[in-house]
């Protein structure tokens, strides 16, 4: 099936989960990544059970923060 990952069209296996997509896309430090599907955020505890559907738009967002010290 076709989905969009970070703005790029991709062909992935039917029934792929968010967790499997993270692995397939070699996402760095996934513990610091927030995932959205069609602009809805997915709880990190639900990555393994969330199935991606045809046409979904996925974004991987790195936590953006820091400190002065």
């Amino acid at each position: 099936m076709k989905i969009t990952v970070a703005g790029e069209k991709k062909e992935v296996a039917d029934g792929i989960t968010v967790a499997a997509l993270i692995e397939q896309e070699n996402v760095e430090t996934p513990q610091y990544v927030t995932v959205s599907i069609n602009e809805e955020f997915v709880e990190s505890g639900a990555f393994a059970d969330t199935v991606i559907k045809e046409g979904d738009e996925i974004e991987f967002l790195y936590f953006m923060g820091g400190g002065a010290f």
Partner: protein, 145 residues
């Protein structure tokens, strides 16, 4: 890596950072990676630091997502982020390094430590064997083309 930012964008983030001082200011940068290896910042986004402190910043993931959408709609690529250090130098702190987890990103830090002399530097942060390594990028502040 060589990275360019327009003087007008530099002025904009400097003015914003001064206006919210003593809090840290922050935002995202977008642009293109040219074939000659130069990373060109074409758009700078000023976002809210939801921590509202002088020692830390966090960008709201909702703002981040909306900005990423705008970046893509403008045919650009997310290139990283920027933030200010109101009272410390323009270099990644331990917390900056700990939270820099995208090795494709450029991290810009604007120091306001010396009154009237803002210092903006760009850094690349990468995890090597579990240790964060920091490399300063060659940042060029240029007049608009």
């Amino acid at each position: 890596m060589k990275i360019t930012i327009n003087k007008s964008d530099f002025d904009r983030i400097y003015e914003h950072a001064l206006s919210v001082r003593p809090e840290e200011a922050c935002g995202l940068i977008a642009g293109v990676d040219n074939e000659d290896g130069v990373r060109e910042i074409r758009k700078v986004y000023i976002l809210t630091n939801i921590d509202h402190t002088n020692e830390h910043f966090t960008i709201d993931p909702k703002d981040q997502l909306a900005t990423i959408k705008d970046i893509r709609a403008n045919g650009l690529k997310p290139l990283g982020n920027w933030h200010s250090h109101p009272e410390s130098p323009s270099r990644p702190s331990e917390e900056d390094k700990r939270l820099a987890n995208d090795s494709n990103a450029s991290y810009l830090i604007l120091s306001l430590q010396e009154e009237g002399n803002p210092v903006l530097n760009a850094f690349h942060v990468e995890s090597v064997d579990g240790e964060k390594t920091v490399r300063k990028e060659e940042l060029i502040i240029q007049e608009e083309k």
